[in-house]
Amino acid sequence: MLEIKNLHAGVKGKAILNGLNLKVNPGELHAIMGRNGSGKSTLANIITGRDDYDIISGKIEFNGIDLNEMAPEDRALEGIFMSFQYPVVIPGVNNTYFLRAALNAQLKHFGKKEINAADFMRLIREKLKLVNMDEKYLSRAVNDGFSGGEKKRNEILQMLTLEPKLSILDETDSGLDIDALKIVAKGVNDFRDSTRSFIAITHYQRLLEYMEPDFIHILIDGKIVKSGDISLAQEVEKKGYSWLES
């Protein structure tokens, strides 16, 4: 699904990732843990192709396609989705309209017929139930006036609607109370199957208690210094990161 080879990359002239390797196969959930500034978000931004984030050397391949030089919208259309750490407010743009525009862009990309408003409403109502969201969110502007937890659920709602192949969950647990966290985790868990992959980026193992990660990677100074199973996350939770520093 995703293969990152010896990646050196950074933002606005500053190198942040220093030789990162990662392979994510279909059906797997990888958790990337690390302190602030270790390069977690840079990795997410590099994979999704945000402006100002540049690859210096190395390679990222998504299902055999080289992602370098590919526009962010094309990566999204190919099936890469990111649940944002800070979902962006877009005043005046209706949530339903936004989500339908995104879905239609995808349908168009694959040469399929666009979904009409009535069919879309039927679809979205089903998805809303999965994340325990009220219909009133549909008529609000995108993330406008949403609480932290509502924004994160809205991200998961978008993921469930767009059905990406690879979902990057960037600090999806931050700002969530335990109930909201459970809802979000359930949304992700129900969505997991043998074809879909996930990368969960997090500070703490809290989120991982509710999801079942196949691999844990510890990121320090832009490099994966240790990989393991869930027990590694528990160890980090107890001992912190310093014992992993070289």
Binding site: G49, D54, E69, V88, A105
Partner: protein
């Protein structure tokens, strides 16, 4: 955009300055003005210059009665004593009023009885503009008055309207056929000495539209005027007068375009609206004058317009909706005098300044009667090097018991070279007044665009989605067909102008 640099090279050459979005802007800014053609037609044009004689010439050309000539001359003499206002945020070099021609008309001046007699070149022009003058091709419910340079060319659906007693004709015809109405109302809302550009218009106005809706009549169709400046070095000074008698209702729309020319052209119009008891006037504008060269800022229309409505009757209502996307300069403050008790004034505005455009626009709401209500919704969009100013005044006079005003002024910035400015003036002289003012300024940021991109939506679609969302409250006020037109116009004027 990511660039693969060899690791041995110094990290991050400064060539990422040109972001992808910037490239899209640059290509979109090259979008050409669609209505920039000229019409090759024989015109009767007065040489440049302004004097008593020029005014006499215009008046004589139109066979005007003496009272109107005197009115014009009075305005002219007042104008000579006035000074060009400099309080706006607009920056431009002083206009040389002696270099402008004050009269230009297509040459065929004999009376036209039907469209067959209109110069086919002229009809072709309106065709290109998408204005179907031929009645069979027309939007079924819109009557059009077309003003080409200074002269009203044709008015459609006249007979149908006459059945309902509605008068809809060129201003010149109204002077001939309905002199008492014109004499009674002309200058009653915007007096000759009101302001510099209004006074100039009063002196030299050439034509325009006249509407009278009789008592109790709901005008059966939308009335519409299209203004077209064609001749070079001419000013356009039209005069519009709309009177809605007791219990009547009318919806009126004006649209404007002009050819691309290197020199600036002056447009100084005056619009007066009068609403009697229980009457309602809805006035919508889609202004798309040539904005000037997008790269150099050369040329473009100077749009100095005075628009004012008087809610003279109780329970009357005047509603202004404007979508201002064109012109190099816009100086325009459609206003309402709320004289009648329970009268209502509304102002809904979208003003866009892209490239080198400057707009200083807003409204004045003057509350005189009791229980008067006004609503102001202003949406300013700045892109490129554009400067957008909202300037609004709300005045509650002493006798205006229980007056209410709600104002909302929102600005959106696209890129980092443009500006948005807001000047709200509030003057309350009655303690029972309720005033609400909300204002916001936001920016279409990289983060919003990236968020849309990450969901598979292209940058261009994202900008148009965000801007249309921003303007929605105003577009909702436009008549259906024109809302679609306005939306398209915004897309063309803005496509990709993101930084």
């Amino acid at each position: 955009m990511q660039k693969g640099l060899a690791a041995a090279e110094p990290l991050f050459q400064p060539n990422y300055n040109m972001s992808k979005n910037q490239q899209i802007i640059d290509s979109a800014i090259k979008q050409e003005y669609e209505y920039g053609f000229t019409t090759d037609i024989e015109q009767d044009t007065l040489p440049p210059g302004l004097s008593d004689n020029v005014i006499r010439f215009i008046s004589a050309k139109k066979n005007e009665p003496d009272w109107l000539l005197d009115w014009r001359l009075k305005a002219y003499h007042r104008w000579l004593e006035m000074e060009e206002p400099d309080w706006s945020k607009l920056k431009y070099s002083k206009i040389d009023f002696q270099k402008i021609s004050y009269y230009s008309a297509p040459k065929k001046q004999k009376k036209l009885k039907s469209l067959d007699e209109v110069d086919p070149e002229l009809l072709k022009t309106y065709d290109k503009l998408g204005i179907p003058l031929e009645e069979q091709k027309m939007l079924s419910n819109v009557a059009v008055d077309a003003v080409f340079d200074s002269v009203s060319v044709t008015t459609t659906f006249k007979e149908e309207l006459e059945k309902h007693g509605v008068i809809f004709c060129s201003f010149s015809e109204a002077v001939k056929n309905h002199p008492s109405l014109v004499k009674k109302y002309l200058g009653s809302v915007v007096p000759v000495s009101d302001n510099y550009f209004g006074a100039l218009n009063s002196a030299v106005f050439s034509d325009g539209s006249f509407v009278y809706i009789p008592k109790g009549v709901r005008c059966p169709m939308e009335l519409s005027t299209y203004f077209r400046i064609n001749a070079a070095k001419t000013g356009q000074f039209e005069r519009t007068l709309i009177i809605a008698d007791n219990d009547s209702h009318v919806s009126y729309l004006e649209g404007c375009t002009a050819p691309m020319r290197d020199e600036n052209q002056l447009h100084a119009a005056v619009v007066e609206l009068i609403a009697h008891d229980n009457a309602e006037i809805k006035y919508s504008t889609v202004q798309n004058w040539y904005p000037g060269d997008p790269k150099t800022g050369k040329g473009g229309i100077y749009n100095f317009v005075t628009k004012r409505g008087n809610c003279i009757g109780d329970n009357s209502k005047i509603s202004w909706t404007q979508v201002e996307t064109g012109s190099a300069l816009t100086w325009k403050y459609p206003s309402c005098i709320l004289k009648g008790d329970n009268s209502v004034g509304e102002f809904y505005s979208v003003a866009l300044s892209n490239n080198f455009q400057q707009a200083d626009t807003g409204t004045k709401m003057i509350h005189i009667g009791k229980n008067t209500k006004s609503t102001i919704i202003s949406k300013g969009i700045s892109a490129g090097k554009g400067q957008n100013t909202y300037r609004g005044g709300v005045k509650i006079m002493k006798g205006a018991e229980n007056a209410r005003n709600f104002s909302q002024c929102d600005s959106i910035l696209i890129g980092d070279e443009c500006g948005a400015h807001t000047f709200p003036y509030i003057d309350v002289r009655n303690p029972s007044a309720q005033m609400e003012h909300e204002a916001s300024t936001s920016r279409i940021g990289e983060d919003q665009l990236f968020y849309c991109n990450q969901r598979g939506v292209s940058t261009e679609d994202a900008v148009s989605m965000i801007v249309n969302g921003f303007c929605k409250e105003v577009f909702n006020e436009l008549p259906m067909e024109f809302a679609v037109e306005a939306q398209k116009l915004m897309e063309v004027s803005l496509e990709g102008s993101v930084g």
